[in-house]
């Protein structure tokens, strides 16, 4: 793992992003029924909006569940 560090750093990833990816890979290796359980634990959903000059910009939603 120590050899991988410069590469993901160079790709602009943070340690969190890297460890998340690795965790995702580990979850994919699980067998059913554990797998769907683990997949349930990695659902991401939130809305983020940046502000400039005291005004919110258009919010963007990060989600991996399908839109209703």
């Amino acid at each position: 793992m120590s050899s991988a560090v410069p590469f993901w750093r160079a790709a602009g990833m943070t340690y969190i992003g890297y460890s998340n990816m690795v965790a995702g890979a580990v979850r994919k290796c699980l067998k059913e029924p554990y797998r769907s359980e683990a997949v349930n634990r990695e659902k991401v959903h939130f809305t983020i909006s940046k502000w400039s000059q005291g005004k919110p910009e258009k919010p963007s939603t990060r989600t991996d569940s399908p839109e209703e």
């Binding site: 560090v5 750093r9 992003g17 965790a23 659902k43 909006s49 940046k50 502000w51 919110p56």
Partner: protein
């Protein structure tokens, strides 16, 4: 007489409880003005309608309390488990709330929904005073706000200092992946020397401690470790692998941030549910008290009009006989 009783009771009820005085007063007083003086049979329709609405509100608040209580149980367990995530970091790096740096980022954690007592205003208040403490000449302090309610409160007077707002975090149950993706986004978008996370730490169902956690950027950790103290002990650890100390510190700081943020979001969610539970409990109790008072008024008025009518019938009959 019946009118007087209604008016007296009505006034007492208006003074003692204050849900929406203008509406309530106008409802009762318009009834009063529509009935000519000395008219018999005061309509009790107004009181009856009000009783019905109070009863409905009580039903709703009771249901909300139940929902909060059942959700709380699950979240509380997760929260208590997640405390193990940040404790090693505090043991290793210590907590340095008093560190003096140029770029501060205050991360205020609040809830998306209301009706949960004062926890959102507490964290906003703490954030604002933290802002005052950390801001100064040549310094820059920014807010990152989690949750709708904190955003609304901070927009009023410090909207120029808000850098980012995040909401809808609690659509699914909170999990580490979600929070770490969020932490990743925050890290990529703000420049910081110190991140200060403000949240309500769950103590018990009725007690929440507003808490500040400080996360330092790797450069600052290095600076502080040279100055000695708890961070100075870092050099005594043996490090495996080929990374330099700066790399390790950067990885550590990032991972520490996501862990602390995860715990903070859970603690705040837990406090929110606890606060909502107690708020809904007291509001359903208040609704019950109000209902009791209204029922008393209603029955007394009805009884008074019956008595009046009876008296009139009897005296009329006796006048005929006599």
């Amino acid at each position: 007489m019946a009118m007087a009783a209604l008016r007296r009771e009505g006034r007492r009820f208006l003074l003692s409880s204050n849900p929406s005085p203008v509406v309530a007063r106008s409802a009762i007083f318009s009834e009063e003005s529509s009935a000519p003086l000395g008219a018999r049979g005061v309509s009790t329709q107004v009181v009856r309608n009000r009783m019905k609405s109070v009863r409905n509100i009580q039903k709703i608040t009771k249901a909300m309390k139940m929902v909060a209580a059942s959700k709380l149980r699950a979240v509380q367990v997760r929260t208590e488990n997640s405390r193990g995530l940040w404790q090693p970091f505090t043991a290793l790096l210590g907590d340095a709330p008093s560190v003096d740096v140029k770029k501060n980022v205050i991360i205020t954690i609040s809830s998306d929904k209301g009706l949960c007592g004062g926890i959102n205003s507490t964290s906003v208040k703490i954030s604002k005073s933290l802002f005052k403490v950390t801001s100064g000449p040549e310094k820059e302090t920014k807010y990152v706000v989690l949750g709708e309610k904190g955003k609304v409160q901070l927009m009023r007077d410090s909207k120029n200092h808000i850098d980012m707002t995040i909401s809808e975090l609690q659509k699914n149950p909170l999990n580490f992946t979600q929070v770490s993706v969020l932490a990743d986004d925050i890290l990529k978008n703000v420049e910081y020397d110190a991140l200060r996370i403000v949240y309500n730490k769950f103590q018990s169902v009725v007690q929440f401690l507003p808490t500040i956690n400080t996360i330092l950027s790797p450069e600052i950790v290095e600076r502080e470790s040279e100055a000695g103290g708890k961070l100075g002990d870092l050099d005594s650890y043996e490090i495996e692998g080929g990374e330099t100390k700066a790399e390790i510190l950067q990885n550590l700081a990032e991972f520490q941030f996501s862990c602390v943020l995860f715990n903070a979001a859970l603690e705040n969610a837990c406090s929110e549910l606890g606060a909502r539970m107690s708020a809904m409990d007291s509001s359903s109790r208040n609704a019950g008290e109000m209902l009791d008072r209204l029922t008393l008024t209603y029955n007394r008025t009805r009884q008074a009009s019956i008595t009046t009518e009876l008296t009139e019938i009897i005296s009329g009959a006796s006048a005929l006989e006599g």
